[in-house]
C-alpha cells in the first residue's frame, strides 16, 4: 500500500460513481459505476465491481458484473469471476477463472455499450425468461443450460440500472 502513483480502493471502501485515471487502479473493495484508466485496472480477490471497465489492461481476481474493454489485454485469474462481455485483442483465462458472457476479439466495440443494442438485449430477455418457465417442466439439464444464458444476459441490464 501507499505507492505514489496509483489508486487503491481498500477492502472496506465503497465508491459509487465514475473513476477516471491516468494511472493504475487496484480494487480490494467495491466500486459501483464506471472505471476508466489509461493503465491497468486490477480487481483483487475480494474486490467487486458492478459497472463498466475500460482500461489498457484489466486483471480480474475478484468479481465483475458488467462489461470489460481491454485495449491491450484482459486477464482472468484462477479466482476471477466475470459476469458480462469482454472486448479485447488478447485474453488470458487461467484455470479456475469463470466468464459468463461474450468475448469479442475482432476489434469491434462492445455491442452492449451501444444503447440500441442494449435496448434490444433488454427487450429480448423477458421472452427468453418466459420460455424458460415453459421448458422448466422438461428435463432439468436443459433448465441449467438456459440458466447460463440467463445469467450472461441480465448483466448489462443490471449495470445499467445501477448507474
Amino acid at each position: 500500500m501507499g505507492q505514489e502513483n496509483r489508486t487503491e480502493i481498500a477492502s472496506q471502501t465503497v465508491i459509487s460513481g465514475e473513476i477516471e485515471a491516468q494511472e493504475d487502479i487496484v480494487v480490494f473493495g467495491r466500486v459501483e459505476g464506471k472505471i476508466f484508466s489509461s493503465a491497468t485496472v486490477d480487481i483483487e480477490e475480494g474486490g467487486v465491481v458492478k459497472g463498466f471497465i475500460k482500461a489498457n489492461e484489466v486483471v480480474v481476481s475478484g468479481f465483475i458484473q458488467g462489461d470489460i474493454e481491454g485495449k491491450e489485454r484482459v486477464e482472468i485469474t484462477e479466482h476471477g469471476r466475470v459476469l458480462g462481455n469482454i472486448a479485447t485483442p488478447r485474453i488470458v483465462l487461467q484455470e479456475g477463472g469463470k466468464i459468463c458472457g461474450r468475448i469479442l476479439m475482432d476489434g469491434s466495440p462492445l455491442p452492449l455499450r451501444d444503447d440500441a443494442v442494449l435496448g434490444k438485449g433488454k427487450g429480448s430477455v423477458p421472452p427468453s425468461r418466459g420460455s424458460t418457465g415453459l421448458s422448466s417442466g422438461k428435463t432439468s439439464p436443459k433448465v441449467e443450460s438456459v440458466k447460463v444464458v440467463r445469467s450472461s444476459r441480465p448483466s448489462p441490464t443490471i449495470s445499467e440500472e445501477e448507474k
Partner: protein, 107 residues
C-alpha cells in the same frame, strides 16, 4: 487493513464511503463519507461534502466538512467552506475561508 488511496492522476465523480483511511492525492467531486481518517494531500483537490472521524487537509478543499473528532488545516492547505468539528487546528500558512461551528453550548 489497507488505506484507500486516490492517486494524483485519478478523478472520481461520485461517492466514497468506508471504514478505511482515505488518502486523496487526486481529484474528488461528490461525497466522501469516512468513518476513519480522511487526508487530502498536497496534490489533492476535493470538491465535496466530507465527513470523517479525523480530517487532515493539506491540499485543496471546497465544500462543507465535518470532523467527528477533529479537523486539521495544515500549512499549504486551501480550504473554502464550512467546518463542523469539536476540535480544529489551523496552521500558519493555511488559507481558510468559511465558517467554523464547534457546537459551543451556551452557559
Amino acid at each position: 487493513m489497507g488505506a484507500t488511496v486516490i492517486g494524483s492522476n485519478t478523478r472520481i465523480e461520485g461517492k466514497i464511503l468506508g471504514d478505511d483511511p482515505i488518502i486523496v492525492r487526486g481529484a474528488v467531486k461528490g461525497d466522501i463519507d469516512g468513518n476513519g481518517m480522511v487526508e487530502v494531500d498536497t496534490s489533492g483537490k476535493v470538491e465535496a461534502k466530507v465527513k470523517a472521524y479525523q480530517l487532515i487537509i493539506k491540499g485543496n478543499v471546497n465544500g462543507v466538512v465535518t470532523g467527528l473528532e477533529k479537523v486539521e488545516i495544515l500549512s499549504g492547505a486551501r480550504m473554502v467552506g464550512d467546518v463542523k468539528t469539536p476540535r480544529i487546528l489551523i496552521s500558519d500558512g493555511a488559507i481558510f475561508k468559511g465558517r467554523v461551528d464547534m457546537e459551543i453550548s451556551e452557559v
